[in-house]
Structure formats: structure tokens, C-alpha cells
């Protein structure tokens, strides 16, 4: 139910403000929240840290764009196929890595390598437009998944985030989720109890890839232009893991909270520093280090601590 409340609250944003600056900011933050939720499912609940979620983001983005531009497929259908393609790629790479028993840093590095290979391939093959990138033709009709106003885009990305939240909550409370956490905590023990750890991780990776690919598909429709560096560049892999880790890893609301915080922090840093290029990011990075130093479990951890403190205070008051 908190999900409904949060999403409902956020849905009202376009009714309060007509500022496209705010809406654009919120769209980007929600996009990162969606991509981060994908990472969180695998990294937070499953304990498998990926450094290459760009592979899924980019696959979604390119499939949507290429289907529309080269094969005349409807954008909405392209979106669905894009998500499916991302999931499929997640399943394949997951199968390869988990069957080889890769975990920890090895898993992180292989995901990074997959993303890099895709980036290089996309920057030379003709179907992606090679280095030139792919431009989706401007066609401002809802049928083409393009809107004159920012608000519909905002509601769509919010709906996607809502779905990802519900899905994560459902997984958390399911048998599958319990197995996933068991694998994270102690894979050998889980296996000894008869959990098929490889299949569990594979399932998590597929859903995770699908969520992240949805973010990529949305990016294409929102900006109508992608190239190899946008789609498969390390920036999105970093954003994907930054949001949940800052917000609270392995929690349902962590990625959303983290994405909003990280984006806001970026803005504040710019506001404080004035026109000097780079200075805002110095502060941004510094605050990042400080957050980790003083809130090692992310913002969700702070909330838990606060709640515990409050409860203690209450108990003391009652007593």
C-alpha cells in the first residue's frame, strides 16, 4: 500500500507544476529509479553486483529504435519487443556466467565486458547506424509513443516505476524472493537445502534485465536519438548501481529514494558552485564519499535507525 501512496503522490506532480524543467528533472530521476530497480533486484536481493547493466539498457533502446526506423514497427509494439529483447539478453548472459560459477568481482567484470563488447559492436555495425547513431523521426502522436507535452511521458515513466515497485514487492514476499535472499546470504547453504541457485539467479537476472531494458526503450522515445555511447556507455551502468546503493540496497524503495537524492544532489551542487565547469561534480563526488562514510547502509538505513530511535524514545516515554 505504501507503493500506491507514493505513486499517487508523485502522479500529482504535473497537476501542481506546469514547469517543464521540473517535469524533465523528474522524468530523468524516475528513469534512473527504474533502471536502478532492475539493478537492485539482482544486486540488492540476489547479491550479484553487475557493472554492466548498460548491456540491457542499450539493448532495449536500440531494439525499439531500430524496429521503428528500419522495419516500420509501431513504437508501442517496439517498446514491448525491446523489453523482451533485454530480458532475453539478460537470460543468455546470466546462463553463461552463472553456469560457469562466476560471482563477486568476476561476475561484475564479466557484465562490464559484455556491455563493452556491445558498445564496440554498436559503434561499427551498420544496423545501429554505426557511430552516427539512430535518430527516431519526430512524430508527435500518441500512437507513435510521442507526446507534445511532457506530462504523458512523466505518467508513463511513473507507471513503469510503479510496476517495478509492485513487482519487486511481490518478489520480496514470494518463495522465489526468499530463495533469492538465501542465495545472497549463503549460496552453499541454500544449495544444500535443495535450492537451485543457478535457476534462481537466472530468474532474477532476466527480470532485472527486463526492467532496465524498459528504461532504455523509454529513453529512445523520450530523446528520439541514441548512439553507442548513450546506449552502452558506462554512465548508465554507474547510475544503475548508484541509485539503489545510495537509497538502500535490497529494499523496495531504495532505488527510487536514491535516484531522487542523487539527482537532487547533482542540482544542489550546481547551484552552489556557479558557472565553473567541473566544480559541481567535485562537490557531488565529495558528498558521495561522505554519505558512504556516515550512512553505510544507504538512506533507507538512516530511516531504519531513526525509526528504531523513535520507538526506543516512545518505549522510554511509555515506561
Amino acid at each position: 500500500m505504501p507503493i500506491l501512496a507514493v505513486v499517487g503522490l508523485l502522479a500529482a506532480v504535473p497537476l501542481i507544476t506546469s514547469s517543464n524543467v521540473t517535469l524533465n528533472f523528474m522524468v530523468m530521476a524516475l528513469l534512473i529509479a527504474l533502471v536502478g530497480q532492475g539493478w537492485n533486484l539482482l544486486g540488492g536481493f540476489g547479491g550479484q553486483y553487475s557493472f554492466g547493466h548498460a548491456a540491457f539498457f542499450g539493448t532495449g533502446a536500440y531494439v525499439t529504435a531500430i524496429l521503428q526506423m528500419r522495419y516500420g514497427v509501431n513504437a508501442w509494439l517496439g517498446f514491448v519487443i525491446g523489453v523482451a529483447a533485454g530480458a532475453l539478453f539478460g537470460a543468455i548472459t546470466g546462463l553463461l556466467s552463472f553456469r560457469s560459477g562466476l560471482k563477486g568481482s568476476y561476475f561484475a567484470l564479466i557484465t562490464l565486458a559484455f556491455a563493452e563488447v556491445l558498445r564496440i559492436v554498436a559503434s561499427v555495425t551498420p544496423i545501429t547506424g554505426a557511430g552516427v547513431g539512430t535518430l527516431v523521426i519526430l512524430d508527435l502522436r500518441p500512437e507513435a509513443f510521442q507526446f507534445q507535452s511532457r506530462a504523458p511521458f512523466y505518467w508513463i515513466i511513473l507507471a513503469l516505476v510503479g510496476v517495478s515497485l509492485v513487482l519487486t514487492r511481490m518478489i520480496e514476499h514470494s518463495r522465489f524472493g526468499a530463495y533469492l535472499v538465501a542465495v545472497r546470504e549463503n549460496e552453499d547453504a541454500a544449495r544444500a537445502l535443495g535450492v537451485d541457485a543457478t535457476m534462481i539467479k537466472l530468474g532474477a537476472m532476466t527480470v532485472s534485465a527486463a526492467m532496465t531494458a524498459a528504461g532504455g526503450c523509454f529513453y529512445t522515445q523520450y530523446f528520439l536519438f541514441i548512439d553507442a555511447n548513450i546506449a552502452y556507455g558506462p554512465w548508465i551502468s554507474i547510475e544503475a548501481l548508484l541509485a539503489p546503493i545510495i537509497g538502500g540496497i535490497g529494499t523496495v524503495f531504495g532505488p527510487l529514494l536514491g535516484a531522487l537524492l542523487v539527482k537532487t544532489l547533482g542540482e544542489l551542487a550546481k547551484l552552489v558552485t556557479g558557472g565553473a565547469p567541473g566544480l559541481d561534480l567535485v562537490i557531488y563526488g565529495g558528498v558521495l564519499v561522505a554519505v558512504v562514510a556516515f550512512a553505510p547502509r544507504g538512506m533507507a538505513g538512516i530511516f531504519v535507525d531513526l525509526r528504531r530511535l523513535l520507538r526506543k524514545a516512545q518505549e522510554r516515554g511509555d515506561g
Binding site: 524543467v21 530523468m28 559503434s123 561499427v124 535518430l135 530523446f223 528520439l224 539527482k263 544532489l265 565547469p277
Partner: protein
Amino acid sequence: MSRRPSAVSRRRFLQSTALGAAAAAGVLHAPAVLRAQGPAIKVGVLHPVSGALSYSGQQGRMGAQLAIDEINAAGGIKSMSGAKIEAVLGDAQSTPDGGNAEVEKMNGAGVAAIVGGYASGICLAASQTAARYDLPYIVDVGVVDSIVSRGLKNTFRFGPGFGVIAKTAIDSLVTINEQASKAAKTLMIVHEDSAFGSGLAKLLNTQLPERGFQVLETIPHPTPTRDFNNVVLKIKAQNPDLVIPANYYNEYVLLARTMQQQKVRPKGIYSVLGGAASSYKFVKEFPEAAQFIMDCNHWFDPKNPKALALKKQIEAKGEFYTYEVYMNYSCVLLLADAIERAASADRAKIIAALESSTFAGHVMPYGPTKFVNGQNQGAAPANTQVIGNDIQVIFPAAFASAKPVFPMPPV
């Protein structure tokens, strides 16, 4: 990490506070002055001043700001009772979504038009967002031709696109070669593999064979490339008459240095939009490697006193006079002229004024200004060559300051 979270412009914050302070002061001291002079016209100045493209972005911003200062010092927009132009600066952070976010902010700040973008990807995204608000957008550099072929009514490009640059490059090459009694027959192309390099290589590959050249090999490479020894080895093995590089500054410098190191000396190095081939910085730092390199690129009109005055001004600041500077400078002047004729900061009127523009007060070696579907038909690149410690224009003849030296004389 060249990408980062986009954010609200601190500049706008600063500007609005500065503006607030100025307005307060005005109310207190000199309401008459305020009435005599129209309210400032806000113009968005958008460049990638941080991230991978930050050097170019910072150069571009400098050019735009110099033009604005100059216009304001000369009495602002006269048809609007001397209204001053006020820059709303934006940082595209070297990414399309960064540029997009800035356009939203600029629109929110009520700018009359936007100038800049630099990279093709940023120009594509930013002009499209500006189109949502019918906001005039002047592309400063972005050479990809799809920028002006999408049918956006708000988007204007003052400089030349790929098609024109490649065509001019080939025409000039043929002429230079004929003047040297066809010294060159074979060539190799070395290009970076993103938007501009690969697009160009494709055009060169289809058109050069028709003009009697044999393309021995086309070598793409990524940006950044750490080492050019292999590329140079290939050049050495095939021994072409001409080498045509098309890449960004760092790779260009590495390539030219490696060629010098490996003692590879073709009859000519003829680059198209070569990152360093017509850069004063390169000539100053590596005069030997740069000697006699020809380039077909954006360049200023060396016979225009205004262009030379601007060059002095930039060099006095200890900066290099790069194409980003004078192209942005010219674009801002073009916009100011349109606003002057529109006598209004109204977006539709500015677009109409740009469409009918015949602006001649720029510093580029262009033909008469005339926009068709947003593209300036007069725009053309110039051919330059490094001769001695200077860069000379060798083509087109109307703007030339020297004769081409081809084939390269032996050391």
C-alpha cells in the same frame, strides 16, 4: 565518467539573483534609464562546457559571449530602443540529455532564441526540444545533415553540413592535384568511428573513385585510440600518395606524431575536418609534424578585418583562435541581426526574420546568406595549409592567402 546527473542551472539562479539586485537598484536610483532602454533580450547560449567535449564547448561559449559583449557595447538592439542581449548560459555536459535539460530551463527562463550545441548529437536533441516551444535554435557547428533535414521550422544552421564539406573537399582536392599535374593517384583514409568520421568516410569512399582516385584502404579507429603505430604501419606498407585523416584533436596529434616518428612521408596529408590540421595549438606545439598539412575545415575569412581583430582579442587572452570561437561569434551576430529586423523578441517573428536573412556582417568565408529549410546555402568550408609557422587559406581563391604547396617538398 563523462556522464552525470543533469541538473537545474546554477547560472539561472545566479542570473536571476543578479537581475533581481539590478532591478532593485534600478527602482531606487534610475527609473528613467529603465524606461529609455528596452528590457534585456534573453538568449540561450548552450555548450558542452564539462565532460568529454568541454574544451570545444568552452571555446564556443567564449565566442558567443564576445559577440554579445560587442553588441551590447555598441548600443544593443537599436530597433528595440537599445535593448541589451543577456546570455542565459547552459552546460550540455557533453550529452544529448544534458542539452535537452538545458533547453527546458532556457525555455523556462523565457529566452528568445538559443545558439550552440556543438556536437551533432546534442544539436539533434536540443533543437528538437526547442521545436516543442517554437523556440528559434541556431546550430553553431553540428555537421550531421539530418539536423536540418527533419523539417523542424525552428532550426537553422549557419555553417556547412557534411554533404557540402565533403563535396568541397573533393572538388578542391581534384583541383590541387590537377595543378600539380596529378601527382596523387592513391590514397588512404583514417577516420574516427563515430558520427562525423564514419559519415565522412562513407561519402569520400563513394565519390573519390569517380574522380580518378584509388582508395587503397579505409581505417576506422575509436576515440580515444591510445596508439597509432599499427595504423602508420599499414600506411607505410601500402605507401599511398595521399593520407586523408578525419578525427578529433588528440588522435590527430598522435597520428601525425607517429607518422613523423616512423618516417612516413606521403606526397601530401589532406584532412577533412581534421581535428588538429588547422589548429594554431598544434602548429605551435609540433611545428615539424604539422608542416604542409592541408585541411578542409571551418575557417574564418583571412581578409575580413573583423575576423582578424577578433583573432587578436582571443590571442591577447592567451587562448587559441579555434573554429568554435568564430562560428559561435558569427551565429550570435546572425541572431542579433534577425532580432534587429524583427524588432521584437517574439519567437515566431525571429524565425521569420531568420528565414529571410541575408546577413553579411559575419567573419566567415561564405557566399551570400540564404536559408533553405534551415540550412544556410552560402556556407562552405575553406581549405587551409600549414606553411611555416602559420595557417594559410589556399582555397577558395576569393579568400586565399597563399598558394598550395603540393606535393610536399622533401625534408
